[in-house]
Amino acid sequence: MSFAAILFYLFGALAVLFALSMLLNVHNTVAGALSLVVTMVSLAAIYVLLEAHFVAAIQIMVYAGAIVVLFLFVVMLLNLRDDDFAPGRQRLVRVAGALVGVFALAQFLRWLAPGLPELPAVPAGFGGHRAVGIALYTDYVLLVELIALLLLAAIVGALVLAKRKLDS
């Protein structure tokens, strides 16, 4: 098995494990958020293995570096304790979760049975910042502009709401 394949399976396993850890740490929100960070960083590592460097960097910068930090910020401010969570529906959720988990595991094992496949080769120039930039600003320029407009509207909306609260 090649070095890249070993890294791929390592980071794949990490991503899945910590995604599970995030789900299981329902009551310890900080541990949950930190597990999410590990998942994000592992995904970024997989993007690097796919030569999609731009997406990898953005994945870490935006998701791991900014969004989850904001989650943590809120979680720490609220300082939730175990008894802040309502108990109800726990049993039903657990049974359903266990069933889905068993099904997913069975599928996964069936897929694994023939042995771990090697990584396919990536076409040259795929996913670099040049390729992504050219695609974004030529073929998809309308969508980029629309998203920019949407984000601007969101910022203005947030400002208006916050300002009304400050004024009163």
Partner: protein, 382 residues
């Protein structure tokens, strides 16, 4: 392949860059002594030998290693123990894409003096810088101390804000050099720039003085505003004074590392000093021509010396000279940060935030617009 590469990477990052950190604590002490008109750190001695205070870092490390490794009651033990590592690792690995020498050709063998030649170098730096937030945030939260938590809050808000402007303030530089790879940027700065070249390009004036008056083609001369903005942002990211709000000794005691003792506190301290080196390396590569020697490009040296001593010798000489030039600029930027730290008074928290969102952000966007306009005009005229 991987084992040798990994060993080389670890050596450069941990031994060389990490080894600079204790030395920098000494420079910081000496600089503070100079600024405050004292003689400064000169008491640690081995058998009466003080070596102008160079034993102080050694004494520091011994003291920190000997102290009790304390975990406060009610703290999250695992995260409390991990946080210093989470803070130190991004600081150390960020240096990987900073070139400490150029690209040299010996026969058919090419040597590029940088740990990783990735062509997305600056994106890597931004990604690593954004991960550095976690060390501080986790440290403060896991300590189970109100002051620490306040420090974490301040750190996360301050570092996220300055990450945004840190990226935006550099867009102008990316536009000028048309690359994200620091080695290519340093190569592009290994030449000269006609100061009055615009007279020739726009008005068709020709005069020998236009060709004659030249500056090194450094980023700081192309993008002086970006130099100032980026330096401010990256120093705020490093949380050293005047941006030490997450520590705020007069308000929140020591902020996020209040409950740390011994070498775990030392790791926070170390990571700040390693970041000083990384900042100096980044500023050098982006704005101060990297390893290049002003007015003396690689081609000139190879052509000039190579005529008498052979191309191989001339290239080898280039390696040494360029490394020396890089270290000189690195040292100058480290000294500059020390001098700033002991000169400027601390900001208030709202001032730090206002500076980021109301001053640096608009100026960065204006810089992008003006740079784009000028580049378009130059292209049209040429």
């Amino acid at each position: 392949m991987p084992v040798a590469e990994i060993l080389k990477t670890l050596f450069i990052l941990l031994v060389v860059v990490g080894g600079l950190a204790p030395l920098i604590t000494w420079i910081e002490r000496k600089q503070s002594a100079v600024m405050q008109d004292r003689i400064g750190a000169n008491r640690a001695d081995i058998g009466g030998l003080t070596l102008i205070g160079l034993f102080h870092p050694l004494a520091d490390v011994l003291k920190l290693l000997g102290k009790e490794d304390f975990v406060p009651a009610g703290a999250n033990r695992v995260l409390h123990l991990l946080a210093p590592l989470i803070a130190a690792i991004p600081a150390v690995i960020a240096f990987a894409v900073i070139p400490y020498g150029g690209v040299y050709r010996f026969g058919d063998h090419t040597l590029s003096l940088v740990v990783s030649d990735a062509d997305w170098g600056m994106l890597y730096i931004f990604a690593i810088a954004s991960l550095a937030t976690y060390g501080t945030v986790i440290a403060g939260w896991s300590s189970n101390n109100g002051w620490s938590l306040l420090g974490s809050m301040r750190a996360s808000a301050q570092m996220i804000s300055y990450e945004v402007t840190m990226g935006l303030s550099l867009v102008g530089i990316f536009m000028v050099f048309q690359t994200l790879k620091l080695q290519d940027m340093a190569l592009a700065q290994d030449t000269t720039l006609r100061v009055f070249g615009f007279l020739d390009i726009f008005f068709g004036l020709s005069h020998p003085a236009i060709d004659w008056i030249r500056l090194p083609a450094w980023g700081v001369f192309y993008q002086p505003l970006a130099f100032l903005l980026f330096l401010t942002c990256i120093m705020a990211e490093n949380k050293r004074p005047p941006f030490d709000l997450p520590e705020g000794e007069s308000e929140i005691i020591a902020g996020y590392h209040l409950e740390y003792s011994g070498m775990r506190f030392g790791l926070f301290f170390m990571s700040e000093f390693i970041q000083v080196v990384v900042i100096a390396g980044l500023m050098t590569a982006l704005f101060l021509g990297g390893w290049s020697i002003p007015y003396l490009s690689t081609q000139t040296i190879v052509a000039g010396v190579g005529r008498f001593m052979g191309t191989g010798f001339a290239t080898g000489l280039c390696v040494l000279l360029h490394f020396a030039a890089f270290m000189l600029k690195l040292g100058a930027m480290i000294w500059f940060q020390m001098a700033l730290r002991w000169t400027l008074p601390r900001f208030r928290y709202d001032q730090v935030m206002d500076l980021c969102w109301k001053v640096i952000l608009p100026l960065s966007i204006a810089n992008v617009l003006v740079t784009g306009l000028v580049m378009l005009l130059v292209q049209e005229a040429a």
